[in-house]
């Protein structure tokens, strides 16, 4: 229980490396400032080097229009510590599973920004359930990892 708490505190400190930035729905995406003010979703997985990793998805503002999001790949250092892993190229595709995987135009693929984050822009063109499917390609080998995160725009 204590370990879990320490882990959470540490992870929160990693997440708060950046400065939260309020954005209007139509403003162009920032390229340097991580969005860490919203909710997060995480997926734990194991990389090609058999080291545990955790993908953290920082949800964008859940409103119709172009919205900036961040994604962070953490590589496990020890049982309590993760360090940003930037040895990946990240692409994503937003779809609406209820709409025959309808997608939206004008999305901006994630790029590396300071702090080990990847930042992109998802263009929500209607409300409902959206699925953001990410593809991580490891630099230096052929490892490809695919993960998705669901968000709901009310």
């Amino acid at each position: 229980m204590k370990k879990k708490l320490i882990k959470r505190v540490f992870f929160a400190s990693v997440l708060s490396l950046g400065v939260a930035c309020a954005k209007s729905p139509n403003s162009p995406p920032s390229s340097t400032v991580p969005v860490t003010s919203g909710k997060t979703q995480s997926i734990a997985w194991t990389g090609p080097d058999s080291i545990a990793r955790k993908t953290t998805f920082f949800e964008p503002t859940l409103a119709v229009g172009p919205q900036t999001f961040d994604i962070l790949i953490g590589k496990k250092v020890d049982s309590l510590t993760y360090t940003p892993d930037t040895q990946w190229t990240v692409t994503f595709s937003p779809t609406m599973p209820d709409m025959e995987d309808m997608t939206s135009p004008n999305n901006v693929q994630p790029k590396k920004i300071p702090g080990g984050y990847y930042q992109g822009t998802v263009n929500f063109n209607m409300s409902g359930l959206w699925r953001l499917t990410f593809t991580f390609k490891h630099i230096g080998d052929t490892t490809v990892v695919s993960q998705y995160f669901d968000v709901v725009l009310q």
Binding site: G65, M102, S104, P105, N125
Partner: protein, 674 residues
């Protein structure tokens, strides 16, 4: 093409020329009793006797008695008018010159769908300069004149009528009470109908083709002085459970309320002033709950409202006749879609984000005698239109597709018309005319959002950066009388520069289930259209008259424009055999084989048809006037449909028109004077 244009003139080898500036005066005649039977009967304004039409009328049937008009049908009701191959945003359908903002993104509630045939006093169809002069677009104005209360000898009149038909087990009824006096008149008319799914030849019914409707039209007229006349009109119309077999869903309800106050003033010599102040509101909801296979239930409500006014000043100076007209309107429209994907959260978007459209149009037209028989007709028009995207959600969703789009567009556009008319006599004349105008993009074309079109099976997205399209229309028209033969006709051609059309948008993912893709409006290069109409009336004997109404349209569009073109050729040939008590009218509706739009192959060949109808009507005087009518439509029970009819959505087979139909109707009139 040329073939199509020629066709009309082979069928009716009579050279007909005439009235300059378009098919214009077709309207003046349409409401008169000696017209070419356009309303299938004698239509008199207000409370006077209205003789029963010779067939089971509908507003659509009255519309198509004008040769310039064809119809796009998605079912048995609420057909969409096409004027010389132009439809939708290219043309305008008005009520006494008043705009009415429809509420449906899918054209399920065109303006004419809110008018019962009992409401109609006449229909004005204008194109070219005459349309501009009446506040309409150059490509076509259809103005439906509503029945008005009338002045006259003091008296009370009532009327009650009904009709039934076998093919759709349809019944309808109407009643009217009116009061008239020298200075005041009142008129209240109501009607209702309940029409079931219609049957087609070979057995079986077309599902989702019935409709229920009710309608109320009330009017009052007051003449406070010799030179002033003030009238008020209120129209309420609601239709519900209206089936559209060519669409994936039906209409739960569509409703409008329209109020108008008009006036006429003739106090000054050589000057007449008339005007109208109006306001109306429509609401609408689609309904997919009756369809058996619905991938996802949807709610699709829409609303529209318009406030507006027009003023027309007619005056003469030195034998020159001038018309100064001002039109103003403000329309608000909105529509949305909620899709229920249980158990996931509902999805929502605004297909018509709430917008306001402000329009102001001024036109000055004049008629100048050059010689005794030669007259110059010219006009100048200035139009200002502004469309403002009001909805915050709409702005954000539009911005998702059209990054950085303008939320407001304003246009100031000029128009010009010029015509020459040579009138040998009142019944023989020939004219040429040309008109130039620009049409601003409509709200749907700027900000429409995932508007599904079942004919093309594609979703449509607006383009907020559209420019106006520029149109030049030319026409040769005339009328001719030779003994017992009267003819009138027109040959016309138009060119559009920067036409507003659509192209495939591969970057935009379609939203609708099974849609082939998305399209977006853009300004194309050049579009050309040409066609002609001929009407012939031949009094063979004192009691026998032949009439022929024909039209041929064709369009040339750029190769990247994949949109259906609504040009159609066809006609109607009928005989009127009048005896003292009965009028018998055999009628032949025909069309040659021609192109039909097909979503998969773009175009297929629509077979031609020739459908026969037999109609009877008569009058009995039994203290009161009793009018009756009866007849058989599609006598030979043929399978047919028009090239503009959409196909059935459920089976992707032709949407055939009704098979053999027997109908009977009766109307009783009575008037008490004191």
């Amino acid at each position: 093409m040329i073939q199509a244009v020629m066709f009309a003139f082979i069928i009716v080898p009579v050279a007909a020329f005439g009235d300059s500036l378009a098919a214009s005066d077709s309207i003046k005649t349409s409401a008169s009793s000696d017209s070419m039977n356009r309303l299938d009967g004698i239509v008199v304004h207000g409370t006077q006797t209205k003789e029963l039409p010779a067939g089971p009328t509908s507003t659509e049937r009255i519309l198509t008695n004008n040769p310039e008009i064809t119809l796009i049908r998605r079912g048995a009701s609420a057909a969409e008018p096409v004027v010389r191959g132009s439809s939708g945003n290219d043309i305008s359908v008005t009520l006494d010159g008043a705009h009415l903002q429809c509420a449906c993104t899918d054209h399920m509630d065109p303006v004419n769908s809110y008018v019962d045939d009992n409401d109609i006093a006449g229909i004005t169809v204008e194109t070219g300069g005459r349309a501009l002069a009446l506040g309409g677009p150059v490509l076509g104005l259809v103005d439906i004149k509503l029945n008005k209360a009338a002045l006259g000898n003091a008296g009370l009149q009532w009327k009650i009528g009904g009709q039934g038909s076998t093919i759709d087990k349809g019944i309808s009824g109407n009643a009217c009470v009116s009061y008239s006096s020298e200075r005041f008149g009142l008129n209240v008319a109501g009607s209702g109908k309940d029409v079931g799914d219609y049957a087609v030849p070979g057995g079986g019914k077309i599902p989702y083709s019935g409709v229920k409707a009710k309608n109320l039209l009330a009017g009052a007229i007051f003449k406070p002085s010799e030179n002033w006349e003030i009238n008020a009109t209120y129209l309420y119309d609601r239709f519900w459970d209206a089936g559209y077999p060519a669409l994936p869903m039906d209409v739960g309800f569509s409703q409008t309320q329209h109020s108008a106050i008009g006036f006429k003033n003739t106090s000054l010599d050589k000057l007449a002033w008339s005007g109208l102040l109006y306001a109306n509101a429509t609401s609408h909801a689609m309904d997919d709950t009756h369809r058996p296979f619905v991938p996802m239930h949807m709610d699709m409500p829409g609303a529209g409202s318009t406030t507006g006014a027009w003023s027309l000043l007619d005056f003469t100076k030195n034998e020159n006749l001038f018309h100064l007209r001002l039109d103003w309107r403000q329309s608000i429209q909105s529509a949305s879609m909620t899709m229920y994907a249980y158990p996931n959260p509902a999805m929502y978007l605004e297909t018509w984000p709430k917008t306001s459209t402000d329009g102001l149009k001024a036109s000055l037209t004049g008629e100048f005698p050059i010689q005794e028989k030669l007259r110059l007709e010219t006009g100048i028009i200035v139009e200002s239109q502004s469309i403002n995207l009001l909805s915050e959600l709409g702005r954000r969703q539009e911005n998702a597709i059209q990054l950085g789009l303008p939320y407001e567009r304003s246009f100031t556009l000029p128009g010009l018309s010029l015509g020459l008319r040579y009138a040998q006599t009142c019944e023989n004349d020939i004219g040429v005319s040309a008109a130039f105008s620009s049409r601003p993009p409509a709200m749907s074309e700027l900000y429409g959002y995932y508007l599904f079109n079942a004919l093309t099976n594609r979703d449509y997205i607006g383009n907020a950066r559209l420019s106006p399209e520029n149109i030049v229309q030319t026409e040769l028209s005339g009328k001719f009388t030779w003994g017992d033969v009267k003819a009138k006709g027109a040959l016309w051609a138009l060119v559009k520069k920067d036409p507003i059309e659509t192209i495939d948008a591969p970057d935009i993912s379609p939203m609708s289930y099974g849609a082939y893709g998305a399209r977006q409006w853009h300004n194309g290069d050049i579009e050309k259209r040409a066609g002609g109409e001929v009407e012939i009336k031949y009094e063979v004997l004192d009691h026998l008259e032949l009439q022929s109404v024909n039209h041929a349209d064709h369009a040339w569009v750029s190769s990247d424009n994949k949109e259906p073109v609504s040009a159609e050729s066809g006609g109607k040939l009928l005989a009127l055999l009048k005896t003292k008590h009965i009028t018998f009218s055999p009628e032949l509706e025909w069309a040659p084989p021609q192109k039909r739009y097909d979503a998969l192959t773009e175009f297929t060949r629509a077979p031609g048809y020739a459908v026969t109808n037999l109609r009877f009507k008569g009058k009995i005087l039994l203290g009161r006037q009793i009018f009756w009518r009866a007849g058989i439509e599609n006598v030979f029970n043929q399978k047919w449909n028009s090239s503009l009819d959409w196909e059935r959505f459920d089976t992707h087979t032709p949407l055939y028109r009704p098979g053999r139909n027997f109908y009977v109707g009766m109307e009783i009139n009575s008037r008490v004077e004191w």
